[in-house]
């Protein structure tokens, strides 16, 4: 029901050139910072090289689109929607009943998705491949509109926090930061806070939901994408009371860094730099606050198809890309500056994803699950210990 048509105007992928907002003769020089709008309407600051990269990315997106259209023409419009396809991607259990054509489709699809889903196809492809469509199909047609109607006017801790955060979510965005944008984001977040009261509202979800709203055709689809993300794609308890799932992911990430980038890991350890200082935000916002929008969405393309392990690939890649520079650092601050500069300027998604998948090498969902299991008890014990210590402070205080 709540159609959000106007947001589509910001997916300006077919606009030929990026307009520099304040063009001047000086801005031709690469070291001069200019402001411009990216594919999804975000204002970004960068130099002329960045603008050129974005224009190239735009061209690549167009080419990618042609590849997808050609495949639709030869294999049929919904060739990628066959249910077996996604279960294959891990290379697990090749069901003998599976047809060879499905297998080739699966391989094609995995490769294709890593190269990027064209923005116009994203709503459709994400919705089916992530499992959101299936999730939605298990409840009555009117679920979302009933939910939003039922919770209208209710005030909870979550709704208060959401209201506080609406104008603080990508402020200045031409659609998100309008009354219409705020209202849509509010309905999605409030609706979800009632769907799962353990999660309620966790800061960070505002950015994730906002980006989903920009991509998906309707607000309702954005809601289902949020649901499938929290309930199926990501590890559970990432966003609940003490973020325990997020703590687990951080420890797994630290271990993976030791395995995949041992030199960096050793150096950072010497600096007493804990990678979760920076990676926590990456994992909770799924990179939406750190990477340029099209790069974030390219990560999400793969995330929705291959699962949460993708976050590790990408996080490791960010470190890996700057290996030599990072090894030269002497201060925690320098490490952070390098990482921030890197993420903010990653306008070319292929640069990141090539490292993430080719250089980092394969990691199966299975090994990561095992790793999580290993870390869980320690995280729980620690969180518990902290809670008890804080409670004992309170008791002393009352005496």
């Amino acid at each position: 029901m709540h159609q959000t048509h106007s947001q589509r105007e910001f997916a300006i992928e077919f606009q030929p050139q990026i307009h520099i907002l304040r063009p001047s003769i000086h801005s031709r020089r690469a070291n001069i910072v200019v402001k411009f709008q990216d594919l999804y309407g975000f204002t970004v600051e960068g130099n002329v090289d960045d603008v050129n990269i974005l224009n190239e990315v735009r061209e690549k997106v167009r080419q990618q689109g042609r590849v997808w259209w050609a495949l639709e023409a030869s294999k049929g419009a919904n060739w990628y929607l066959q249910p077996q396809v996604s279960s294959l991607t891990e290379g697990i259990a090749l069901k003998s009943s599976l047809k060879l054509s499905n297998l080739t489709n699966a391989i094609t699809l995995k490769r294709l998705i890593r190269k990027g889903i064209p923005p116009v196809l994203r709503p459709k492809v994400w919705f089916s491949l992530s499992g959101a469509a299936k999730k939605k199909s298990t409840v009555p047609e009117s679920y979302y509109s009933d939910l939003t109607k039922a919770v209208e006017g209710k005030v909870t801790a979550a709704t208060k926090q959401i209201d506080h955060d609406l104008p603080r979510t990508f402020p200045g965005h031409p659609w998100l930061d309008t009354p219409e944008g705020h209202a849509a984001l509010r309905r999605v977040l409030v609706g979800y806070s009632f769907r799962d009261s353990d999660v309620g509202y966790c800061q960070g979800l505002n950015y994730v939901a906002a980006l989903l709203l920009l991509v998906m055709k309707t607000e309702e689809d954005a809601f289902w994408m949020l649901a499938v993300l929290l309930e199926n794609v990501l590890v559970s308890d990432c966003y609940t009371t003490n973020l325990s799932g997020c703590h687990v992911e951080q420890r797994v990430f630290q271990d993976l860094l030791v395995k995949k980038c041992p030199r960096i890991a050793t150096h950072l350890e010497e600096l007493e730099f804990d990678v979760s200082l920076v990676a926590t935000e990456w994992f909770l916002c799924l990179f939406s606050k750190s990477l340029p929008s099209e790069t974030t969405l390219r990560v999400w393309d793969v995330l929705f198809y291959e699962g949460a392990k993708v976050l590790f690939h990408v996080a490791l890649a960010i470190f890996k890309m700057r290996e030599e520079e990072l090894l030269q650092t002497h201060h925690v601050g320098d490490v952070i500056n390098i990482l921030q500069k890197t993420t903010h300027h990653l306008f070319d998604p292929d640069e990141l994803l090539t490292v993430a998948f080719d250089k980092i090498g394969s990691m199966t969902t299975n090994t990561i699950s095992k790793e999580r299991k290993k870390q869980e008890p320690a995280v729980m014990a620690e969180l518990d210990q902290r809670l008890r210590r804080l409670n004992s402070i309170k008791m002393d205080d009352e005496k």
């Binding site: 966790c202 800061q203 200082l277 601050g333 620690e382 902290r386």
Partner: protein, 200 residues
């Protein structure tokens, strides 16, 4: 000798406080001299650095601006571990944020580095009409707990540089001179397993 040598101090500073108290705004004002009406909410924490010269010392702050939402508190130890200074921020127009600030003080007293320089900032001091927390009350509380107190406004810039300057001054006094490269390191867990932990 201790007073004549020019000291270079690297100091980790952490900002703690309730959601929306204005932690990020204070840092933005201090580091960039800016204020925005709608500041993005902080997730996890954000990092900034800024250098101040006081008397005979140069203090390089490594600032961790943390997230205020309750469930993020389990991340806080990672950010205040080894910190030389803390600014605990509340919003003078919000009583609950003052109560939250007191809890942070308790936690730092129990868990933080014992020599930590702690400041209490009553922010949004420009919102006089909406005031809910009396300056006297906060002043008394700060005195009783060994913090120094200032009312600040990230919006008008009142007392923002001053609070960081005062911290720098105190750090340069407590800091022993012969530590030229020195991070102000205290309370660092010796075991690596402990420091890799997400919470303590």
């Amino acid at each position: 000798m201790a007073t004549t040598a020019n000291k270079n101090i690297n100091a980790k500073l952490v900002l703690l406080g309730d959601v929306g108290a204005g932690k990020s705004s204070l840092v933005l004002r201090f580091v960039k001299g800016q204020f925005v009406e709608f500041q993005e909410s902080t997730i996890g924490a954000a990092f900034f650095s800024q250098t101040l010269a006081v008397n005979d010392a140069t203090v390089k702050f490594e600032i961790w601006d943390t997230a205020g939402q309750e469930r993020y508190h389990s991340l806080a130890p990672m950010y205040y571990r080894g910190a030389a200074a803390a600014i605990i921020v509340y919003d003078i127009s919000n009583q609950a944020s003052f109560e939250r600030a007191k809890k942070w003080v308790q936690e730092l007293q129990a868990q933080g580095n014992p020599n930590m320089v702690m400041a209490l900032a009553g922010n949004k001091a420009d919102l006089l009409d909406a005031r809910k927390v009396a300056a006297e009350e906060a002043q008394v509380y700060a005195q009783e707990n060994g913090l120094f107190f200032m009312e600040t406004s990230a919006k008008t810039a009142t007392n923002v540089n001053d609070i960081f300057y005062e911290i720098a001054k105190r750090l340069s006094q407590v800091q022993p001179a012969p530590n030229p490269s020195g991070m102000v390191i205290m309370d660092r867990p010796t075991e690596r397993t402990a420091s890799a932990a997400c919470c303590s």
